[in-house]
């Protein structure tokens, strides 16, 4: 055929003999009518999302007082959730950009969904910095816009401002990257839907496809832009969570004021992101019957990354303790002892067991290949990583310097409601994505198929043409 492949090259697509099957499999959910299950879950998550927004409305109407914060613990669920969602986003970019640069072909099956996950997670994350403000209607002031308010400008010393730049850059690049990757698939859908006579849908995908025609010129440009964007996105994988970690690292609060935070946060972010990828992929490949494209080998690779990053995070936890002892700073020592044995010890140990202990099971091959186990462990990772942020934020604040100000923090229903609401938002968007956009990159998966056969019903078509189909 067109190219020769080594027989020992790993098979990333199974049971697929020709390209058309891929197109059919992936386009099926988009072209068919929504089933009951989809309607129910989308409707439900939509309701949860709406409730979440209603509660956000209540917060903005009544004030941050509706939350459980106090002057000692000024951040609680809000920033915990922010860091949690930003962290989740990281896996998508890592998969789509870094693994592309490192030429890991298995990423082709999962990059689309992971990138979608990234974008939706960043949406959720972006909500919190806005609503955690006492006066969210002034969020505009976070941007260095020339203004008529005298010489008022933003404070470039503040890590919160760096966050604004980091997150908005990240969102923009991710969105562009994601969208660009879908252009050839939009063209495929456009052509297929036009053939089926569904003009309206076809015209929408046609609009989105930017007039893609599958020409060599198109492909050439596409490849160049993809690589450029991947190059741009790669440093973002590191920079975003580094900057988020600086919210804490540049402060003077013991437990926050730590130089280990940037690498520790990045590792944690990738860890949590891959945990979420596992959760989503296990469900998606099952429901959409995409086991041939997201194979057991894929899931195993993801599990390997989880155990690797989980161990980095574990090492970071222990390093923190070592440094606290080694620094000789009593405040530092106290805060870490208090973390592990103080009033929030339960949160610490949930974090520690979910992030460090349970992922170690992924050393076993049968665990990595057992989807039930993997699913449970991935949920643990999500829980553990949420608690990591909670532990860092709340336990450091609640007993900082002056004992007279020590306080405890108990979240209210409002905060819990907003958190659950963001899950509603995330899944609502993800379900819409799963219905209306190709969850797997059609044309990239095709490059993984070994020795594709010419399907009988396609007559004269060439390989190139088949890819476009």
């Amino acid at each position: 055929m067109s190219h020769v492949e080594s027989p020992i090259r790993q098979k990333w697509v199974t049971n697929t003999e020709h390209y058309n099957k891929i197109t059919e499999d992936i386009a099926r959910p988009i072209e068919s009518k929504p089933n009951l299950l989809w309607l129910v879950v989308t409707g439900f998550s939509g309701l949860v999302m709406a409730a979440g927004f209603a509660i956000i409305g209540w917060t903005i109407w009544e004030g941050i007082g509706t939350w459980g914060l106090n002057p000692t613990v000024g951040w609680g669920f809000d920033i915990t959730n922010f860091v949690f969602w930003v962290g989740i986003g990281h896996a998508g970019t890592l998969i789509s950009a870094v693994l592309l640069l490192f030429r890991q072909p298995w990423r082709n099956s999962i990059n689309r969904a992971s990138e979608a996950m990234t974008i939706f997670a960043v949406f959720c994350a972006g909500l919190f910095p806005v609503i955690h403000m006492g006066r969210p209607w002034l969020a505009l002031w976070f941007f260095p816009l020339p203004n008529t308010r005298g010489s008022l400008w933003v404070n470039f010393n503040s890590p919160l401002l760096w966050d604004v730049f980091a997150i908005s850059t990240y969102l923009t690049v991710s969105l562009v990257f994601w969208y660009l990757g879908m252009v050839p698939d939009f063209a495929t859908l456009r052509d297929r839907l036009r053939k089926k006579g569904r003009k309206f849908m076809s015209s929408i995908y046609g609009f989105l496809s930017f007039g893609w025609d599958g020409s060599s010129r198109n492909w050439s440009r596409y490849e160049i832009v993809t690589w450029v964007l991947a190059g741009l996105a790669t440093p973002l994988v590191l920079s975003v969570h580094t900057i988020v970690s600086m919210d804490f690292a540049t402060s003077v609060i013991p437990g926050w004021h730590t130089t280990i935070f940037p690498p520790y946060f990045v590792a944690g972010a990738i860890f949590s992101g891959f945990g979420m990828v596992q959760t989503l992929m296990i469900v998606t490949r099952k429901v959409y019957k995409l086991e041939d494209y997201i194979t057991m080998d894929h899931m195993e690779s993801i599990a390997k990354i989880v155990v690797a990053t989980g161990s980095i995070v574990g090492l970071a936890y222990m390093t923190e303790f070592f440094v606290a002892w080694y620094s000789g700073s009593l405040w530092e020592r106290y805060i870490f002892i208090n973390r592990a044995f103080g009033p929030y010890a339960w949160a610490y140990w949930i974090m520690f067991s979910c992030n460090v202990i349970t992922p170690q099971l992924f050393w076993f091959r049968w665990v990595r290949r057992n989807m039930v186990f993997t699913f449970i462990l991935s949920i643990f990772v999500n829980i553990g990583m949420w608690f990591e942020r909670f532990v860092i934020i709340v336990t450091s604040l609640h007993r900082d310097y002056l004992a007279s100000s020590w306080a405890t923090y108990t979240p209210t229903w409002v905060e819990a409601g907003i958190f659950i609401g963001t899950f509603g938002l995330f899944f609502f968007l993800f379900f819409l994505f799963a219905k209306f956009l190709p969850v797997i990159n059609i044309f990239e998966v095709k490059t993984l198929v070994r020795h594709p056969k010419k399907p009988e019903n396609l007559g004269e078509s060439t390989v190139t043409k088949a890819i476009v189909d």
Binding site: G65, L160, I253
Partner: protein, 1049 residues
């Protein structure tokens, strides 16, 4: 060239017939004037108005407009002066001298005719450094929405004419029947008011009418004891400033007793470690009072043992000075040989010592007099040549009145500043008798427990609306003058009495005449006439004469023998209860004042409630913890009382306590209603005629119920021994926050083992290594002509009273947030007083530390604000720009001192805070300082060092000196500084080498809190120095070690 022909449309160009027909008409259709004016509606074109309707509508419209114009439109009185009064400059405050009802001379700051802040009158003797904690809050009482707004008859609003006529008739009736008439009041401090009352009573027949005075928290026994021992009923003036040794027995003279602000400055004068003028202060008490917390040596003893302790002290002192001892005294000592130590030191400082006792028992007070007499303290530290006049109440008189009430003899009762149904031991007698009287009149501001029962309520003015005078001691007078027009339809009580006496004179003139007579009597030569004398006194606020001395009083030795027999021995069995006053709430008179309720008790740090304080040991034995409700049954009390528990270190064994002043009637006001609590006055007993504030026979049983308490500080010690084990002993970080030492160490005694010197050296060594990234913040003071503000707080002087917090409340429009929010730790105080314990729970050492924004030079809050809402001024202030704040709370998180306060809700208009926040009603808003913004929801706020006051002072100085580099005087710059009776807060310009603050700032005793964090605060604290010997120190250290070892296991 011909001009072009312009046309507007094709019609015009074509000159169509329609166009030609239409072109000369002004309107395209005819105006239906004919139809409109015709009477037939059918003919009209599309609208139904005809001429008649038109006229009707027009007629109605004009009439309506005319009528509505006849009503007076509601006017908002915010009109600028057309002709400005000379003394009113918008934006500039006027100060008037006046006096609070408790006799504190004050300066009232008014802005555009409304009083907004009280400060101590610097020209006065008693209030020179400041006023007491509740005194600051009295200004809010002026704007209390729940004040009685008009005279009432049978709880219905009435008219002064009607009330006056009816009362006059009833008085005439009473005169005829000859029934007893009584005026019942708290101590009347005003000689003029006393004269008015006397004049009023004089119209009755001899013996028919009399004036009874009593104080809710009585000190009658001191006056009675002096009558017994010196033959004259009087309250001595105590001179703590002359005392080298003070032994105080259950006397909270720094917190609640008689005149705390006066005693505070007198006490603190003698607490200066630097000059070595440091008094030794022993405190023997059952509760942990504010005074006990400041004492050098404190002995907790049970309430019933205090009398016995004093008897033993008497005999020990007598033996030492060679006077006869009292016979039959059971031997007793506090803490092995505590009384011997006290006796020795008292005798050593003979003539310069002082024994005080806060127990209201005439016998005990006589023994106190005897001790002071033996020690030659009379004429030195106890002045009876110029007796104090702040307390005049007599328990005996009250008892007599109660007996008369029981017998139904009293038919006319006038209540002035008295609320006997609530706060007297004879509550039931009053409750029963008042409704049956022919005439019962109350002059109260509020419908309190007694006023509810009275037939007539003739509301008195608030003192800020009144004329008057006060006499604090025989040589000290002060003036009360109105600072605002009466807000409501109230009338000064003196005017009421004068009216009913038939004296037509206005009380203002009456007062002036009396002062003219003072002028004549005193033969003041510096004034041309009485008017000049009066004017000067009015402006200055006080008239003070030199204290006289040399009066001879003979001491009655026989009385003491009698008295000593009357002192009961210790109650050996069962628990005892103490009814004590809180620093802010006191006797509950200001029970509707939210500022006072929001102020956490300095010791317990609980706001908004009273509760049963229980010793730690007892709580441990019986499984009690904070907020448990216990049922307290007391011998002689019909029903057990249910009270929430607060476990308090430092209480004597078997002693519990409950604060007075709570459980007010719902009618007192909306704040009193939400506070609730238990009225502990119900537990008062009588000991002879004396009202007793302690009681035995208490038993406590735990219930399953709990009650939330608004604790503002839950963690009292940094040392967490349970976890100390992990990292060893040096786990204690208190050094970074609190520093204290003892006098010998401070003075360099102790050689190599001197921990204080060691510490100072250690910190000096560390300081050498401090470098800064912000050199520009530290300009050379030699060349710098700017101001650099700084503050020094002397922990040795701060007594923890909290007056500064209330003053800050008033100055900076700090919102009140109520119990629930305080419980959630969201109190908005810009300034708080942290309280730390050390040592064992039986008798801990206490340190108070006022904590507010430290105005750090390397402020962690400033770097993290994304929108530059908090920035550094070139004068060293950390400034908060509310308008710019978006509320990320990052600054608060990053503040090591946790002094930033966030507006979680719209405190100024949220329904949740309707009852507690006075700024939510139009009247309460008048107390707001117009120089300070009321903060919006979602905005961070914090101590600004009263930047508005600094600005004002700077401008004033510049104008006066006609120089842009002139610097203001460093007196009374911040509200906390001006409020501090102890002068513990020193504030000023650090760049001025001669300023008080720059001298203290670099004193070896000064340190910054959390120096290691390198925030470089502009506030320094001065190490607390306790006057203890090295042996006492080591003893205490051994206990502390023991505690640590004990809790570690």
């Amino acid at each position: 060239m011909s001009r072009p022909k312009y046309w507007r449309g094709i019609e015009e160009l074509e000159q169509s017939p329609e166009f030609l027909a239409q072109k000369d008409r002004e309107f395209s259709t005819d105006i239906p004037m004919e139809d409109a004016l015709s009477n037939t509606t059918e003919e009209s074109l599309g609208f139904n108005a005809n001429r008649r309707d038109f006229l009707k509508v027009m007629g109605f419209g004009m009439t309506a407009a005319t009528l509505s114009a006849c009503f007076e439109a509601p006017t908002k009185k915010a009109i600028p002066y057309v002709k400005k009064p000379d003394d009113q400059i918008p934006g500039v405050a006027n100060y008037y001298a006046s006096t609070t009802p408790e006799g504190n001379p004050v300066l009232v700051k008014t802005r555009v005719g409304r009083p907004i802040l009280l400060e101590g009158n610097p020209d006065s003797y008693t209030g020179r450094n400041g006023i007491d904690t509740p005194g600051h809050a009295t200004i809010l009482g002026l704007y209390d929405e729940d004040r009685i707004r008009a005279p009432h008859k049978n709880a219905n609003p009435s008219d002064w004419d009607i009330v006056d006529r009816e009362i006059a008739n009833k008085i005439a009736e009473l005169k005829q029947t000859g029934a007893k008439v009584r005026v019942l009041s708290s101590s009347v401090l005003s000689p003029s008011t006393q004269a008015v009352i006397d004049e009023f009573l004089a119209q009755f027949e001899d013996g028919q009418a009399s004036h009874v005075m009593y104080d809710a928290v009585s000190t009658s026994s001191i006056l009675d004891a002096h009558e017994a021992t010196f033959g004259q009923r009087m309250l001595p003036t105590y001179q703590m400033q002359k005392a080298e040794v003070i032994a105080s027995f259950a006397c909270d003279f720094l917190g609640t007793w008689i005149a705390p602000n006066e005693f505070t400055w007198k006490y603190v004068v003698n607490r200066d470690a630097k000059t070595g003028k440091m008094s030794r202060h022993f405190q023997v008490e059952s509760m942990l009072s504010l005074t006990g917390a400041n004492a050098d040596i404190r002995f907790p003893v049970q309430p019933s043992q205090i009398g016995l302790s004093l008897l033993n002290l008497h005999n020990k002192v007598a033996r030492l000075v060679g006077k006869p001892t009292l016979p039959g005294v059971e031997s007793f000592n506090v803490a092995a040989n505590g009384l011997d130590k006290i006796a020795n030191e008292l005798v050593e400082a003979r003539g310069k010592s002082l024994v005080l006792c806060g127990i209201n028992d005439t016998n005990i007070q006589q023994v106190v007099n005897a001790i002071n007499y033996m020690l030659d303290n009379y004429g030195n530290t106890v002045d009876i040549d110029n007796p104090g006049l702040l307390r005049k109440g007599s328990d005996t008189d009250l008892a007599t009145l109660a007996a008369e009430l029981e017998r139904g003899e009293v038919d006319g009762l006038f209540l002035y500043g008295a609320n006997p149904v609530y706060n007297s031991v004879y509550s039931d007698a009053f409750k029963k008798a008042i409704p049956e009287m022919k005439l019962s009149v109350s002059f109260a501001h509020k419908f309190d427990e007694t006023t509810e029962l009275c037939e007539y309520v003739c509301p008195d003015h608030h003192y800020l609306e009144s004329w008057g005078d006060k006499q604090q001691a025989t040589n000290l007078y002060s003036v009360v003058q109105p600072t605002i027009n009466p807000i409501f339809n109230s009338r000064q009580v003196e005017d009421s009495f004068l009216t009913w006496t038939g004296n037509k004179i206005d009380f203002h003139d009456y007062l002036k005449n009396r002062w003219f007579s003072i002028y004549e009597a005193e033969q003041e030569e510096n004034f041309v006439d009485g008017q000049a004398f009066w004017d000067t006194c009015l402006r200055k606020g006080v008239y003070e004469k030199e204290a006289t001395s040399g009066g001879r009083f003979s001491f009655n030795e026989v009385a003491i023998l009698e008295a000593s027999k009357g002192i009961k021995g210790p109650v050996t069995e069962g628990m005892e209860i103490v009814l004590y006053e809180k620093v802010a709430i006191r006797d509950g008179k200001y029970g509707n004042n939210p500022w006072l309720h929001e102020l956490p008790d300095p010791i317990t740090r609980v706001a908004w409630d009273n509760y049963l304080v229980v010793p730690n040991a007892y709580a441990k034995e019986n499984g009690l913890k904070n907020e448990d409700i216990v049922s307290v049954s007391i011998e002689g009390l019909a029903e057990p009382v249910e009270l929430p528990v607060f476990v308090q270190p430092g209480l004597a064994r078997n002693t519990v306590g409950v604060a007075l002043g709570y459980g007010r009637s719902k009618n007192v006001g909306r704040v009193a209603k939400v506070v609730g609590g238990y009225n502990a006055f119900q537990l008062l007993t009588r000991n002879g005629d004396n009202v007793s504030y302690r009681r035995g026979g208490v038993s406590i049983s735990k219930t399953e119920k709990t009650y939330p308490l608004a604790l503002t500080q839950t963690f009292d010690t940094l040392y967490d021994p349970a976890k100390g084990e992990v990292f060893g002993d040096d786990y204690d970080r208190t050094d970074y926050i609190i520093r204290e030492t003892i006098l010998p160490f401070y003075n360099g005694e102790g050689g190599k083992d001197n921990p204080y010197r060691e510490n100072v050296e250690k910190w000096e060594e560390k300081r050498k290594h401090l470098v800064t990234l912000w050199e520009s913040h530290f300009k050379d003071p030699e060349t710098n002509r700017n101001i650099r503000w700084a503050m020094v707080i002397d922990l040795n002087k701060c007594t923890g009273c909290g007056a500064c917090i209330i003053s800050c409340h008033a100055e900076n429009n700090v919102p009140v947030v109520g119990k629930k929010e305080v419980r959630d730790r969201r109190n908005m105080h810009w300034l708080r007083i942290d309280r730390y314990y050390s040592g064992d729970t039986e008798n801990p050492d206490v340190v108070f530390q006022p904590m507010m924004c430290q105005h750090c030079d390397n402020a962690p809050c400033e770097t993290v604000c994304p929108v530059l809402a908090t920035i550094h001024s070139n004068e060293g202030l950390n400034q908060m720009t509310y308008n710019r704040c978006v509320g990320t709370r990052y600054c608060a998180n990053n503040c090591p001192y946790k002094v930033r306060r966030f507006n979680w809700f719209s405190y100024y208009n949220d329904e949740l805070f309707r009852d507690v926040n006075p700024y939510q009603n139009e009247l309460g808003r008048l107390v707001l300082n117009p120089d300070v913004t009321v903060r919006f929801r979602g905005v961070m706020e914090k101590c600004s060092w009263c930047v508005q006051r600094l600005q004002e002072a700077k401008l004033k100085a510049k104008i006066q000196a006609n120089s842009s580099f002139a610097k203001p005087d460093d007196k009374n710059l911040t509200a906390c500084q001006s409020a501090c009776s102890a002068n513990a807060v020193v504030f000023g310009d650090l760049n001025d080498k001669n300023s008080a603050v720059s001298k203290l700032f670099y004193d070896e005793r000064s340190y910054t809190v959390l120096e290691e964090v390198k925030t470089l605060p502009s506030i320094k604290y001065m190490t607390k120095v306790r006057n203890r010997t090295v042996e006492e120190y080591e003893e205490k250290e051994a206990i502390k070690k023991e505690v640590q070892n004990y809790t570690k296991v």
